[in-house]
């Protein structure tokens, strides 16, 4: 066995084992990414970037929960959602880059960094298109429950609609995402009811988190016609939980970011930025 790496003896000469991270692949390998007639490439790229950034940033926040949830089962659930969103982000950022290559940050010549990684790791906070609901720092368990409920409600409705997108690639990514968001929303809805109907303390924490996050809810709606469908489901959860709908006004500044995003990105991007020529 080679002393240089403890893994060398385990691989049996096959260096392609994913568990040790030597190789990644184009998530859209062989997929026809030609922008269809009648679809505006820059608009499609912008839409995919926004949906991809929402998924990437919330995925990073959920990953911060690893080893910190109140129960092992819920820790695994949150990591599972983080992985789903990371997968959606990879596909969406790759789709955005293929539709409009001009959005991809330029790296040193010969850099092996794929387009979706260049978008994830080499943009500044101001270039990210995500909503603030995805980026604000984590709080307690009630906070992640409320955040996931409000986020998943609107993302599921958005992706359901996009299954009919004239762009077949986006439509396929959306159809797959619908299956995943279904159990994200169910999980968050169940815990919302559990916290609301649990102890005085769990209900107090839930209502506090709801008041904190509600002003950011309005920013999730890019078109008003998404509201009717999501309101029905939200009202269903609120009714079962016995929680009144908050009466707080939306926070202004939609489309901008909080300071928390740049701090989060500093940690998320530091290794990739230090090694733009790195092979992983």
């Amino acid at each position: 066995m080679n002393d240089d790496s403890v893994y060398d003896g385990l691989l049996g000469g096959d260096s392609s084992q994913w568990a040790f991270g030597t190789d990644f692949e184009d998530p859209l390998a062989g997929v026809d990414t030609t922008v269809p007639d009648g679809v505006h490439a820059a608009e499609l790229a912008g839409l995919c970037l926004r949906l991809g950034d929402d998924a990437l940033v919330l995925s990073q926040r959920l990953a911060e929960w690893c080893s910190r949830a109140p129960e092992l089962e819920e820790d695994i659930a949150l990591a599972n959602f983080a992985l789903d969103l990371l997968g959606q982000a990879r596909l969406l950022l790759a789709r955005a880059a293929a539709a409009d290559p001009s959005i991809v940050p330029v790296l040193p010549e010969g850099s092996p960094v794929p387009a979706e990684d260049a978008l994830a790791f080499f943009r500044e906070a101001g270039q990210f298109r995500n909503v603030r609901m995805a980026e604000v720092p984590n709080g307690d368990f009630a906070h992640v429950v409320v955040r996931l409920l409000l986020f998943s409600l609107v993302r599921l409705a958005t992706l359901e609609r996009l299954t009919g997108s004239p762009d077949a690639v986006l439509a396929a990514i959306a159809a797959k995402g619908v299956k995943e968001l279904t159990y994200h929303r169910d999980w968050a809805g169940r815990w919302f009811v559990t916290c609301a109907q649990g102890t005085d303390e769990s209900r107090r924490r839930l209502l506090t988190a709801l008041d904190q996050l509600w002003p950011l809810y309005d920013e999730l709606f890019t078109t008003d016609d998404l509201r009717a469908g999501t309101d029905v489901v939200l009202d269903q959860v609120l009714a079962v939980a016995g929680v009144p709908r908050p009466q707080l006004a939306p926070l202004g500044g939609a489309g901008t970011h909080t300071e928390a995003l740049s701090l989060m990105l500093a940690e998320m991007q530091v290794v990739a930025r230090a090694h733009p020529m790195g092979r992983w």
């Binding site: 096959d14 392609s16 084992q17 994913w18 190789d23 990644f24 692949e25 184009d26 998530p27 859209l28 390998a29 062989g30 997929v31 092992l72 089962e73 695994i76 659930a77 599972n80 992985l83 789903d84 969103l85 990371l86 997968g87 959606q88 990879r90 596909l91 599921l156 359901e160 077949a168 690639v169 439509a171 396929a172 990514i173 159809a175 797959k176 995402g177 619908v178 299956k179 995943e180 279904t182 929303r185 169910d186 999980w187 809805g189 169940r190 009811v193 469908g229 489901v233 269903q236 959860v237 079962v240």
Partner: protein, 165 residues
């Protein structure tokens, strides 16, 4: 057997890296094998958006086909239709049971807006080890995205259940 059939037979033997009792064909991940201008083109689809095994599946397909004498191999991703646990074959379900895993029941068919489910997910499962119908769910989320953890209330062994999607 023509070239395409030979290539398809080789590809059909490649196993899933996370559940090696299943071939990619049994899992429903291998969608197609074609030969275009001397290039074998194998099409695979991810089980979940974030499935980390896609790169290994691709490498394994390339290695096995190359070893079998196909000089030029390409693996392409197919995103539509999205993978469903219903695509696991009968042979795959038998292999899962033989390995102590519980195969999925039929996935719910959704037409129209996706309904909210606030109740706990309940499934009538049989223990893959002793066949008892008395089982309890331990965790809806498990070792990989596709599994939930259950326990048999008779033989007391825990087992993984492949979730419906």
């Amino acid at each position: 057997m023509n070239v395409r059939e030979r290539a398809a037979a080789v590809a059909a033997q490649v196993r899933d890296p996370e559940m090696p009792m299943l071939t990619l064909a049994d899992l429903g991940v291998l969608r197609d094998v074609a030969v275009q201008d001397d290039v074998v083109v194998a099409s695979i689809t991810p089980t979940y958006s974030g499935c980390p095994a896609m790169a290994t599946m691709r490498d394994d397909l390339v290695h096995r086909l190359t070893d079998a004498g196909f000089a030029r191999v390409r693996v392409r991703v197919v995103l539509s239709p999205a993978w469903s646990s219903d695509w696991i074959t009968d042979a795959g379900r038998a292999a899962l049971r033989a390995a102590g895993l519980s195969p999925p029941v039929p996935a719910p068919a959704v037409t129209g807006p996706v309904p909210l489910t606030l109740g706990t997910t309940r499934r009538a499962l049989t223990c893959p080890r002793c066949g008892s119908g008395r089982t309890s769910r331990v965790s809806e989320f498990g070792a990989t995205a596709c599994k939930a953890l259950y326990r048999c209330d008779d033989c007391l062994e825990s087992f993984d259940h492949i979730k419906e999607i």
